[in-house]
Symmetry: C3
Subunit: 303 residues, 3 copies
Amino acid sequence: MRHLLGIEGLSREEILRLLDTAEAMLEISQREVKRVPTLRGKTIVNLFLEPSTRTRVSFEIAAKRLSADAINLQASGSSLSKKETLADMASNLEAMNVDLLVVRDRTAGVPKMLADRVRIPVVNAGDGAHEHPTQALLDALTLRQSFGSLEGRVVAIVGDIAHSRVARSDLLVFSALGAEVRVAGPPTMIPPGIEALGVKPYFSLEDALAGADAVVVLRIQQERLEGALFPGEREYAQNWSLTRRTLALAKPEAAVLHPGPINRGVEIASEVADAEPSRILDQVTNGVAVRMAVLYQLTGSEQ
Amino acid sequence: MRHLLGIEGLSREEILRLLDTAEAMLEISQREVKRVPTLRGKTIVNLFLEPSTRTRVSFEIAAKRLSADAINLQASGSSLSKKETLADMASNLEAMNVDLLVVRDRTAGVPKMLADRVRIPVVNAGDGAHEHPTQALLDALTLRQSFGSLEGRVVAIVGDIAHSRVARSDLLVFSALGAEVRVAGPPTMIPPGIEALGVKPYFSLEDALAGADAVVVLRIQQERLEGALFPGEREYAQNWSLTRRTLALAKPEAAVLHPGPINRGVEIASEVADAEPSRILDQVTNGVAVRMAVLYQLTGSEQ
Amino acid sequence: MRHLLGIEGLSREEILRLLDTAEAMLEISQREVKRVPTLRGKTIVNLFLEPSTRTRVSFEIAAKRLSADAINLQASGSSLSKKETLADMASNLEAMNVDLLVVRDRTAGVPKMLADRVRIPVVNAGDGAHEHPTQALLDALTLRQSFGSLEGRVVAIVGDIAHSRVARSDLLVFSALGAEVRVAGPPTMIPPGIEALGVKPYFSLEDALAGADAVVVLRIQQERLEGALFPGEREYAQNWSLTRRTLALAKPEAAVLHPGPINRGVEIASEVADAEPSRILDQVTNGVAVRMAVLYQLTGSEQ
């Protein structure tokens, strides 16, 4: 594994190794002194070309807890908008002996394009509607903590499947670990032919949740709900919001996940988000550990 | 003391302990190597939702001199504008095992709201027109350096008392330490009933300064001077600007303070700001020390 | 040397000492652990008042590899636009015991103005059309690596000489090190009287390149090409773009430099930028080393 561009292309063994490493990293963030010298003297650049706070902070904290130097580069879309300029920036960062690039961009494929250009590892922190692999890994880690293993577990992903990089990465990782994955949402939000990825589409929340071990509720982009093809916010909430009532259809103690930030009262009710069996804050804790594991594996001593 | 949300609610002893700790911290910034390992492995987030440079830099330097990892999160008002989103962000930061949140916001009460939500310490770095406790503590430290003690000293605070969080925090801390506090400004800038806080209102600069040991000149928000209820800039300067002439009414060597950034020629003349007995730059130096003391007391080993 | 405000005023010996120090710094960025304790406990502020990513990142990496604490302060033009406010900010940073200020501004003379105000070292990271000394030093280091010495070498600088701080600093440093400097561009881009600086103007790319040992291609500000006095982009590229064909007029293996970011197909063709003998990425590597040398010499133990 030279880069982490997506879950696609990762073997089951590579995924499990990342999760095992993340498990070990979790303990560091519990210590009185939350800092180990592992990546001392390494330079990690967070190249965030799409605004983000939580993911950037999570990567920055992960780098610092491993004693790496973290540099933030949150370019406005304009200055680095052309692909060529962006590729030149990546080459420049490589020439500055940067050890790893974390890249987020509105456009699918940008992390791959940069990885093709430079010899240093590139981590995809979310690219358009393509993939968000560290989110999927932290989701998998969270489910593994709940169930021991994902083998044979039924996981429903609910929301705008067609436009969600989280959905795409999640279904790949959950499938790779042996789970049965259901995707659910209004017909305009389910891509045609999704069955080819080995998942089963549902057009009713109730059906999708029936007997599920876990539910991943996706964040609804509110701009999307204004489009002609999509339901309005109220209609969406009525049919697709995870509430205590709809959650009751899943198995008792079914895990509830959400990549955040949550729209309370739209895709999820506060009564579900803030109480057991919500694992939303565990996901955030696991996010730092997963990113520590990724930075470590891609830049650590074994390289 | 679990949080520092305001001067209100602090006992005289807690204030003195913070000032004594700050006094000890001052020496660290004078060293050749301005860094002690005290907060190594602690993660401190500066959550600045109102634009600020000086206060953020002061907190960031304070954290770094104590070897903490400082993460800046300067969200635009828009993305974190809703209270619920902000509270969720704070919960997320807590889930990332952040050790302390420094919060600045345009809205009074936001730091308190977040402190009620999370178990980690919250420091108010200025919230609306409510409080700015670290500014008040550094002002108190500066005056204590001048006088040994504030007991019985006469301190005049001049400017837009009604809309100033600095005025509010200052008068609370000066009163708690035994000073006699006068507040002075145009009638529209003095809140009715201010006497209830144990301070005396003045509607003439000359009266307020007569025999004062110290003057705190507040920054005038120039937007405010365009409002119908307030004097124009020229009129304000004519009646309320601290000049060498008006300063002569105070005691000889009266200390002159200003929270900065200063509007030269509006609330204060350059001849006063840049010469003895101005303590304006001492305030800035003390600001780093006070913030080091606050970070240390709230996250240090005794917790 | 107390500040680095420009190449103007530096002696040949001071320049060589900086280049020698930079040469020694290069090795640090090649190590497994790219961090030395040299500036531990020093606080360096990057005060960037003109948007920039590459130069800021280069300075930030330089500071961190020397273990200094780097603070970024990228104020919007508005809040710090007035000279007085900016000078007060610098005084405040000095009062916070900051050890060195790196300053970039749209206006020529701002770093000098701040250096006159504070007692701490100021490094000019580019001020208007005045100077960009660290860029010139890294260019000189790159040429010295190619040739051993610049003595007697012919260097052509091509582009908008009149409005370029890089051109100005470059011709000063190359001349000081004994090179013969040619400047070339359309007549409206060559300042009248440039000969007084000891350089020779050329109004044809072919003439300027004939027999040159090195070419520095300047970035063209595309806004400029829309002005009435200047050629359009296509016309500029036709007459002034460095292509394999025009480069063939220079000496074999002539070094090609560009301060970046490059406009491919405008001032330089990709075939030249991305292949030998382009030294563009070496410049970027050298940039970190030169900045480490500058930070070290201005704040290091000999102070």
